[in-house]
């Protein structure tokens, strides 16, 4: 029922995403190129720091880092933007009825568009380093879908909380920084001491990053256990998100 209602408003979702897309880089010279340049520069910086200076032993570090960092920045950008998607849309929420989850959802989708655009250089770079796509690439859309759902749950959670507690923004900044470093993005899991390994296993982003690397670098399907773990992570996240959201939704138009 709820899902069906969202479908009726798919044009609104489409228009909000395209509004965001069209206006984000309006009046900037390089425009959409920034979506490519920005991650590219970061990959260069990390490669310099971790590969050349700290000499982390990872085969083809730029590739390794890229396959972890791009999904990560998709998550981080979504959380950062969706956080205020409800609390800063008061003027819309108070004037018109539409399913409110559309607001965080369209924010994520617009981040997804930017994430997909980065694949424009992901594949060429992979091929330059000698990694050619295998049949495992078919799993990529599913992983992206699962990550988007996972992100959606968290975004629902954060945007609902933000309506009442503005401090969550600063907490999120701290959490994202910590989360980035406890996820094996800039270093391999093999470097983690055994006694901390359970932390990594509990971290859903480890699962996602590993899945992306399996598909893009190793060229193999993630093992079934991974799919199961990813699906559980998605379900937990959606449950976690809908719980506060359904409570906040009722009074949203009056509390903003």
């Amino acid at each position: 029922m709820r899902g069906l209602e969202i479908l009726k408003y798919r044009d609104l979702i489409k228009n909000l995403v395209s509004r965001d897309f069209k206006t984000r880089y309006k009046r900037s010279y390089l425009g959409i190129l920034w979506s490519l340049l920005n991650p590219l520069l970061i990959i260069i910086v990390y490669t310099f720091a971790f590969d050349y200076i700290m000499r982390i032993r990872v085969k083809d570090f730029p590739i390794f880092f890229m396959c972890g960092y791009l999904p990560w920045s998709y998550l981080a950008a979504s959380l950062g933007l969706a956080l205020t998607s409800l609390s800063e849309s008061g003027y819309m929420i108070k004037a018109v009825y539409f399913p409110r989850e559309i607001l965080p959802l369209s924010t994520i989708l617009s981040c997804l568009v930017h994430f997909l655009i980065t694949f424009l250089f992901v594949f060429p770079v992979l091929m330059i380093f000698g990694y050619f796509p295998t049949w495992a690439i078919l799993a990529l859309p599913v992983i992206i879908l699962l990550q988007s759902l996972f992100t959606f749950g968290l975004c629902l959670f954060l945007s609902s909380i933000h309506v009442y507690f503005r401090d969550i923004r600063y907490i999120l900044d701290v959490i994202l920084t910590i989360w980035f470093w406890v996820t094996p993005i800039a270093y391999p899991v093999s470097l983690i001491p055994d006694q901390f390994l359970f932390v990594y296993k509990l971290n859903p982003m480890t699962l996602f990053v590993t899945a992306y690397r399996d598909v893009l670098i190793s060229g193999s399907f993630p093992i079934p256990r991974y799919w199961l773990a990813l699906s559980i992570a998605v379900m937990i996240s959606l449950a976690l998100g809908y719980f506060p959201f359904l409570r906040v939704k009722r009074r949203l138009a009056e509390e903003l």
Binding site: K8, Y9, R10, D11, L12, K14, N15, L16, S18, R19, K22, T23, K26, R27, Y91, M92, I93, K94, A95, V96, Y97, F98, F165, R166, D167, I168, I171, R250, R251, A253, E254, E255
Partner: protein, 444 residues
């Protein structure tokens, strides 16, 4: 069809709105919830609207009529009771919802349309109609940040007017725009009516309500107090307003203080950022405290704008407090955004009587054969109206406008742009106008 059964709605008024997480944690640790008061904005509302009916909600500010409209539109959820609606609903509570200045008029039409629940295909079939209704021509392909405020407003109207729902909810939005455009909107609404659509409006305009609606629902402090034919219900509303006016101010204030729970308040739903930032301790809905405080209202084509209004006393000092029979100057500063052949500037001094404005005095440049124009685009001009105030004690409101020579198109229309007070000064007199009698004793 709309069926409202025993609906109540309460609002939470947070005692201290800007509680931070730290304070919240302390609160939670102490086992307390954030403190708030509950105010019933609507209590036990019951009515039904048949398909094809045109109904108006009237009532003072804070009576709950906008809240009711939002409940019908699904924007708010009732705390008690049930609302059942059949058919596609469009809420026109605000114009141009979701408009983005960097998008073209065309893109904004689709965006705004989808927000009102109409998909791209449905909007495409109405596209030409919307553009011609808005009278903005090729500007439709330019970003709306390049529009004049009048153009953006007309575009918002046109989308609202060209959509095709079964039930149309309108909150006051039609009260803006120049007169010609308003007429067009009214005509459009008449078409809606004849095509059998259900229309529910909230309006302050008794005239519109009488002329346009088939049934009127009168709300007072969150309760439905009357329902029926437009004429009789509007009369009841006016009677209610004048009753309230006649009560001395002190009595009214104490009444509200002793029974705050009983009074239905409506939270000003369009609180701005500043409102929220400024509100710390009490979030008292301002409208509920002073129900008759007239709002500043502005509309027009903005081809000319009044950018500054100043009131001066006989000594040339700026003030808003005058005494009977004092000289007052009203200085208007105007900027012309277009070449205009023959603009006229005018003022009205008005007063509230029984909740309605009474025009005390009006004057304009045309009646005195003073020609402002022709003016060039970008030109600035000031006009001073100087007059005596042989008027009784009270609060007066100034209305100022710039219009074309015929007084049909208003370039800028500013209602209640200033208010000022007049106090009695000796010697005493009685009545509405100080005719300043000369009294002689005649010995026969």
């Amino acid at each position: 069809m709309i069926e409202v059964t025993n609906v109540s709605k309460k609002f939470r008024i947070w005692e201290d709105r800007n509680l931070s997480l730290k304070e919240t944690v302390i609160h939670l640790l102490k086992g307390r919830r954030r403190p708030y008061r509950e105010l019933w904005a609507l209590r036990g509302i019951q009515f039904s609207i048949k398909d094809g009916e045109t109904v108006a909600f009237i009532g003072e500010n804070g009576s709950g009529k906008s809240t009711l409209l939002k409940l019908l539109g699904g924007i708010l959820v009732p705390d008690e009771g049930k609302i059942v609606t059949h058919g596609k609903i469009s809420s026109l509570l605000e114009l141009g919802v979701g408009f983005h200045p960097d998008l073209t008029g065309e893109e904004n039409i689709y965006l705004n349309g989808s927000m009102l629940g109409f998909n791209r295909r449905e909007m495409r079939t109405r596209f030409d109609e919307i553009v011609s209704f808005a009278e903005i021509g090729d500007f439709i392909y330019s970003p709306i940040r390049t529009y004049s405020s009048g153009m953006a407003m007309r575009l918002g109207f046109s989308i609202a007017m060209c959509v095709d729902p079964d039930i149309l909810l309108i909150d006051e939005v039609l009260a803006v725009g120049d007169e010609a455009f308003q007429k067009k909107c009214l005509k459009r609404l008449e078409e809606f009516k004849t095509s059998g659509k259900t229309i529910v409006i909230v309006s302050h305009s008794s005239e519109l309500v009488r002329k346009f609606c088939e049934r009127v629902i009168l709300l007072q402090e969150g309760k439905l107090v009357a329902e029926g034919a437009p004429d009789s219900t509007v009369d009841k509303y006016h009677a209610l307003l004048s009753d309230k006016e006649r009560l001395p101010v002190e009595e009214r204030a104490s009444e509200e203080e002793t029974a705050p729970e009983e009074t239905g308040h409506e939270i000003d739903a369009v609180a701005t950022e500043e409102d929220r930032a400024g509100a710390t301790e009490k979030e008292e809905p301002p409208a509920a405290r002073a129900p008759l405080t007239p709002k500043f209202e502005r509309h027009g084509t903005f081809e000319a704008e009044i950018v500054d209004v100043r009131l001066r006393n006989g000594l040339g000092e700026e003030t808003d407090a005058f005494v009977t029979s004092e000289r007052m100057s009203i200085d208007l500063k105007m900027v012309f955004r277009q070449d205009l052949p023959d603009p006229i500037a005018g003022i009205y001094i008005r007063k509230l009587e029984d909740g309605l404005f009474v025009e005390i005095y009006g004057m304009n440049t045309k009646w005195r054969d003073i020609e402002l124009g022709p003016v060039k685009k970008g030109e600035r001009l000031g006009v001073r109206f100087t007059q005596c105030l042989p008027l009784p004690e009270g609060v007066y409101y100034l209305f100022a406008a710039i219009a074309d020579a015929e007084g049909i198109t208003f370039y800028d229309w500013q209602e209640n742009v200033r208010s000022f007070t007049i106090q009695h000064q000796d010697p005493p007199w009685a009545g509405m106008v100080n005719l300043n009698s000369e009294i002689e004793i005649l010995h026969d």
